[in-house]
Amino acid sequence: MTLLEAIILTVITASTPLLIAAIGELVVERAGVLNLGVEGMMIIGAAAGIAAAITTGNSWFGVLVAILAGMALSLVFAALVLGLAANQVAAGLALAILGLGLSGVIGAPFVGVQREGIGKIEIPVLSDIPFIGEILFHQDLFVYASVALTAGVWWFLTRTRAGLVLRACGENHAAAHALGYRVLRIRLLAILFGGGCAGLAGAYLSLVYTPFWTSGMTSGRGWIALAIVVFASWLPWRAAVGAYLFGGLTILQLHAQSAGVPLPSQVMAALPYLLTIIVLVVIMRARRGGAAGPACLGTPFVPDR
């Protein structure tokens, strides 16, 4: 395996959890809801996933439980912001903190338990192609799932009627409501999808990436996923670009250090965020002061009864 191959493989593994979580949050935000609790849902997924996997001995069951756990936590958020029309920023933050705390409780009995991670699958014949084979056809299922998710969400948002309705709820919930669409129900489904994706990303961390449990193991990846959604200007394929850029920069920075290249690592670490700000500036310029992102993002909707 060449160094380039090794670097690309590492970038893919580092970017996958970011992409999965970002795609989930992207759908939520396109429906007009800002859920800042990605970090909390992600780590609940990580904790519940490995707890279930260790208890039952089945990693795939762990993945399922992780998705459900992320959804369950997002349901708490939905109850607050949809049911009670609470402030989304405050509720999202509360969710992140709740998730971090709760995950510690769930994970406590599993601290230090060693477990075999979910391995990669090898697609016969194709994985034998030099260079491309190793990179494209010898990955774990999560990597393929993240690509499928991106494609699926892109197709759903731009090519289906349901996607159009979801976007309508995000752009102008009053109009969508007037047309007879159930804004709250659609937003609830979007929030659940976001929670499931965050849980799945968490499962990737605790079952594939570093297969063990320690508190706080997501270490801010949920927040990076939020930044990626902005970076992507709410478009699925750009989210993939963003996730790979963010992941890629982190890995390249580590390699540069190890090779003794005198690059200031702090600048490299700040670069993704700097790019996010630049993208935001460009969007604002292009829209001449209009809303960046869905127009109703973050505004609670209370249907007139």
Partner: protein, 359 residues
């Protein structure tokens, strides 16, 4: 909106530090001992081992002590937590991070009737003691083992921050390695965190991909070691606690922190009135830390490592004997001299032959 997210990020990290795992004082007569931990008890490293020490103190001293522990306290929350511990009646408080040292000095001056102990620090006061272990002795043994085990003659080091504690550890690993084979080289990756399993694993991946086949780590999670196990033909060392079970085929030895006996002796000193401020820096011989059983090594390698470990513990081998030359070629001390503890604690340069950039 980006601004909001930034603000929320800082807010969340500050708030996240308020999880309190407290046990209330039961008996009025017993000495209540407070502990403030920088990480979660479940970090499986630094904070876990302080918690183990606290429990050992409780089991040895029985009903003469009670303890109150607050975990995952971010430095900005320190004053509030420390003041709260004083109010609830703690008379001896251990603050277990260098990040707490400056605030501990401040709070100690404001509460002269409470004894304070800071795990790593640079100065004592009338009611403030400092304590740490000479972990570098373990690093020297790691260097010797790494030099024997490495076929690529390149050691990888997952480092945290460029502070003296980490810098002198890297220097000492190489001292040990060079004592076996002067051609050994080292690659270092700084991850700017004491604990971030994902990034620790990424750093180890980068090091291994660039040819390192023995990985040392200064970070707390078992992730780098576990990755070495996954890759195969790569070895690693555990940090803070015995990590053998995370990498049965890759683990060589672990540095195991053991604060229990120290906590027992200090609490006992407060109970019988003999507590004095002290600067304790215990090595392998003191029991403040030890090395886990050597694994995946030949009998010859084990006996060599054992011999070096015992020599360090007995004080017959000293990793900071001269001559010591900085990377830029200036001589620090000539042969025949030895760095003082203060010089070791202030080390901010790499030795000649260590071609590593400070971040």
């Amino acid at each position: 909106m980006n601004i909001t997210r930034r603000q929320t990020l800082t807010g969340a990290s500050a708030l996240a530090g308020t999880a309190i795992g407290a046990e209330q004082a039961a008996a009025q007569s017993a000495l209540n001992v407070g502990f403030i931990l920088i990480g979660p008890v479940g970090d499986f490293g630094w904070s876990t081992m302080h918690d183990v020490g606290r429990r050992r103190m409780e089991s040895v001293l029985g009903n003469r002590v009670t303890s109150t522990q607050v975990e995952a306290v971010a430095p900005p929350d320190f004053d509030r937590v420390a003041t709260q511990l004083v109010r609830t009646g703690c008379r001896l408080i251990f603050t277990t991070s260098f990040s707490y040292f400056a605030p501990t000095q401040r709070v100690a001056a404001a509460n002269p009737n409470v004894m304070w102990e800071s795990a790593t620090g640079t100065a004592t006061a009338a009611n403030l003691a400092i304590y740490n272990a000479r972990f570098y002795e373990g690093r020297y043994v790691q260097g010797v083992i790494a030099a024997r085990k490495s076929r690529s003659k390149t050691i990888g080091y997952v480092a945290t921050f460029p502070v003296p504690e980490v810098i002198h550890a890297i220097n000492t690993v190489m001292r040990g390695a060079w004592s076996v084979d002067p051609s050994i080289r080292i690659r270092v990756v700084w991850i700017s965190a004491w604990f971030n399993p994902g990034r620790e694993a990424d750093a180890a991946r980068a090091l291994i991909d660039q040819g390192c086949d023995v990985i040392c780590q200064h970070t707390d999670s078992p992730a780098p070691l576990q990755l070495a196990e996954q890759r195969g033909n790569v070895f690693g060392f555990g940090q803070a606690s015995d990590m053998t079970r995370f990498a049965p085929r890759a683990h060589l030895t672990s540095s195991i922190n053991s604060w229990g006996d120290y906590y027992v002796s200090r609490a006992r000193a407060v109970l019988d009135g003999s507590w004095r401020p002290a600067d304790t820096w215990g090595g392998l011989g003191s029991g403040m830390f030890s090395l886990a059983a050597f694994t995946n090594m030949t009998p010859e390698e084990v006996s060599e490592a054992t011999r070096i470990r015992d020599a360090l513990a007995a004080g017959t081998l000293h990793p900071f004997d001269g001559p010591i030359t900085r990377a830029d070629g200036t001589l620090v001390i000539p042969a025949g001299q030895r760095l003082t503890d203060d010089q070791i604690r202030a080390q901010n340069y790499f030795y000649q032959g260590i071609d590593v950039a400070m971040p």
